[in-house]
Symmetry: C3
Subunit: 366 residues, 3 copies
């Protein structure tokens, strides 16, 4: 039954299983229950099935243990878990259930991309391209002249790579991604499906005849090590020089990065964020979903934008801002609280004004 | 002349034509004019050509009938249509012109995808994949190991499908869509071009060395029956368990759905909306364009978000909210009205304060 | 060394070089320095290498000339450039450094797409399609029945074109673009990677059984001459008739254009903007990033929306609006200034009210 060999547990375990004892050893956990139980998946308490491990990080989760179908759970050390039957199920006592979860996710994660090392016969690779022999190039990939692809890098089906692109080692370029000419990617860069790297920036000048003349964009995009980029995200090439994404920076889905933007290290950009041309984002900034920064503005190191924030002035290092236009976080919420009283305030002031007018008349000597 | 066989009427009739009499029967309409006229397209009054049918749902449209080139029109029963020449053109009297329009659109809609049943010789289908023989798999499609594709489902050119994906009957997966491993689609699901289903959720933890460690996302996306998803929309797989899109829900273009989101039945999400991780949207919610919901928040059944609304707290069932942060619809518009008076209000209060100070001085016993 | 023939200068010069004398002649510049110096790239002052030309448009840039490694610079005529060594480097004096930059970018721009004229053997072109012999059709392109592709038009790898699509002369359709059936593109249209033209509009009606019935969209998208469209942008086909993008209009990345929208000439739509169904945008409008317009609304000619503006009413020709809901630009900033005083204002009014109450008690005759 070939079909069954592929039957996926919905919760993601690609045929992996571990005894409770083995998991406990991996997590450094003490076990309350049979160490011989075999766990083959990971899920939330309410979704878990009878071969799944789950996790309990608070009293409210602990209270749901009895009703859960899970076979085992990683539990924060001192939590009381009512009704646990140690003959039938196992609790793994850990110092921190969240850290244990991250560890378990890694354990149960399916092996990466199915693309195998080597160049698929249906790929089109220019003879001048230099492909490491451990790289995996999928079906219907185009790799143009002069490209260099590093060791163990995976290029999934349908990816289009322009001329002279450089991609480092251990990268994953998912299906449908387009990388235009001369862009440079470091090591361990991951790009999710249908994103576009190195399209032209958005720049025109009036052509003097009522139309607009396109400004050529002859620069590139440079993406440093350990960057991850989501799906359907667009990063424009520089007018000249480089658009730069710093090491360890993480960019979500549907994000727009304009030409000549420079993002530092370890920044986090949530989905649907947009940076206009020549924006500078210093290290460790966090940009909430749907936030936007106007062209030529700078976010100081560690600045944090709440979701939907619109920045039209430079933001100081470490500042936390909210709203459009971006406002200091504390002031923003004070204003919001006051706004809810504004209709009443208008009425109060009208009354005070009337009162004043009357008292003016009262005291009128005439 | 093969070319002419393909000559498309701009208004979309792919070679279809109907007599006025046949259309009247279909719509249950009474005809004022020749039933033998032949209609071959559908268009708005001002754009219609001499073989098109149009529609008239109000007096202002009725007034434009004389100038329109349309051959026929569906007209609401009791409207007066000045200058109609029943020798030359036809009016089809219907109880409701909008409903008739929907019916006519369906009649004139071109036959679906041109992809023919069977597997295109340029597709790459893993031998362990189970493809119904009535399914149509286009050129340059990749279908990985263990997939199941249902009856009459159409997969257009350039689609990439990861391992163990299940797709039901009568689905349409448009060009360039990427569906990653183990995702599950029900029946009659339609996904428009270049959307991405099942990419990794956006989740990291500090790695203790100044960088960030990726959290594996081992869950899936599950899409129920009769869901439609627009172009360039991204739906992330769950960290574990499922991201769920409920039956009959409709999602527009460029929408972001985070990991572990659960959307109920019959919801409508307009374009550029974004839901962060683990959001719950109950049945029959309507989310306006560019609205956003912060992670772990819940929209109660039937809640309605106006365009550009930003939700950072749970929203009650049936509530209508506007703005960012989301505000009760009535209060929002009261605040907006008051805001327009705010600059004047500031001046008034300043004057009252000055007045008070003066009257304080006047009454100063000193 | 084939590899070196492809070695790209990061700053984009694809093997192009010019003497300072030749550049000066092209720009109409007077030279301060050796005309024989050979320039092979273009970059910003701080990024430029020893064979690059840069540009100096202000005193602050002039002050950095000494430290720059650039070989030459275009300089606004009357600027004083401290420390220039005319034996070693060259300044090209021009009336306007910005215009000179545009000229230089064009000079150094790499030659366009690498796709060669003719039909790639891995493309799938229906025999009824009419492809100009000077057009370049890349690998893995699908062109369905009845299409017409004009002279010198380039279709990059992985593009999917539905039946009866018409594309004019000198167009560039980048990798991964999807154009659905019957859409019509004029001349010199440029579409960046992974955009989608002609997907179904977002329209449903209640089906009377708790679900929703899809409205067929049988119209098309018509794109006029000299339009440029960014990456991952979606333009929906009309319900019937046409969605129209007027000549010379420029649309950025990740923009949503709904069904039946009509955009005039020379408009500029920045990234992540969204137009709902049946919106009309008259000529010369400018829409800032992330702006949105509700269905059926009209922007008068030359209207300007700031970034993140939300339009829910018609906007007059020439108006400048900001915010959501859209507000006259001057009033918006007056309100913003007042908002920053609002928390204080609430306290002041509370004090005035208390004061009034006390004085009311004082004067109480009882």
């Amino acid at each position: 039954m070939t079909q069954q060999a592929h039957d996926p547990a919905i919760n993601g375990a690609a045929g992996k299983s571990f005894t409770v004892g083995a998991l406990a050893q991996r997590l450094g956990a003490a076990v309350e229950g049979p160490e011989s139980l075999v766990v083959s998946g990971l899920n939330a308490l309410d979704l878990a099935g009878p071969t799944d491990i789950s996790f309990i990080g608070s009293d409210s989760y602990a209270a749901r243990w009895v009703e859960s179908k899970a076979l085992a759970a990683a539990v924060t050390q001192d939590l009381i878990v009512p009704g646990h039957d140690a003959n039938r199920r196992a609790l793994l006592r850990v110092p921190n259930a969240d850290l244990a979860l991250a560890e378990l996710l890694t354990l149960f994660a399916p092996v990466g991309s199915p693309v195998r090392p080597g160049i698929h016969p249906d790929a089109t690779v220019d003879p001048t391209a230099n492909i490491d022999e451990s790289a995996a190039i999928g079906a219907r990939v185009t790799i143009a002249a002069g490209c260099r692809i590093g060791a163990r890098t995976v290029i999934e089906p349908g990816v289009q790579i322009g001329s002279d692109v450089v991609i480092g080692d251990d990268c994953t370029i998912r299906a449908g991604v387009v990388i235009r000419e001369r862009c440079v990617l470091g090591h361990r860069v991951s790009i999710h499906p249908n994103s576009v790297i190195g399209s032209d920036g958005f720049g025109y000048r009036p052509d003097g005849r009522g139309g607009m003349q396109k400004l050529p964009h002859i620069g590139i995009v440079e993406i440093h090590d350990d960057v991850e980029i989501g799906s359907c995200t667009t990063i424009d090439r520089a007018k000249f020089g480089k658009t730069v994404i710093g090491a360890h920076t993480k960019i979500d889905n549907l994000v727009q990065i304009g030409h000549n933007v420079r993002i530092g290290r370890c920044c986090v950009l949530a989905s649907q964020t947009g940076l206009a041309g020549t924006v500078v984002v210093e290290d460790y900034c966090q940009l909430g979903a749907k936030s936007g920064v106007a062209d030529h503005r700078r976010l100081g190191a560690g600045a944090r934008l709440a979701a939907m924030t619109g920045v039209h002035k430079d933001i100081e290092a470490g500042a936390e801002v909210v709203g459009a236009p971006a406002t200091d976080r504390r002031l923003f919420w004070q204003i919001q609280a006051a706004l809810r009283k504004l209709p009443e305030l208008v009425r109060t002031v009208a009354r005070l004004e009337q009162q004043e007018r009357r008292s003016g008349e009262d005291s009128d000597p005439a």
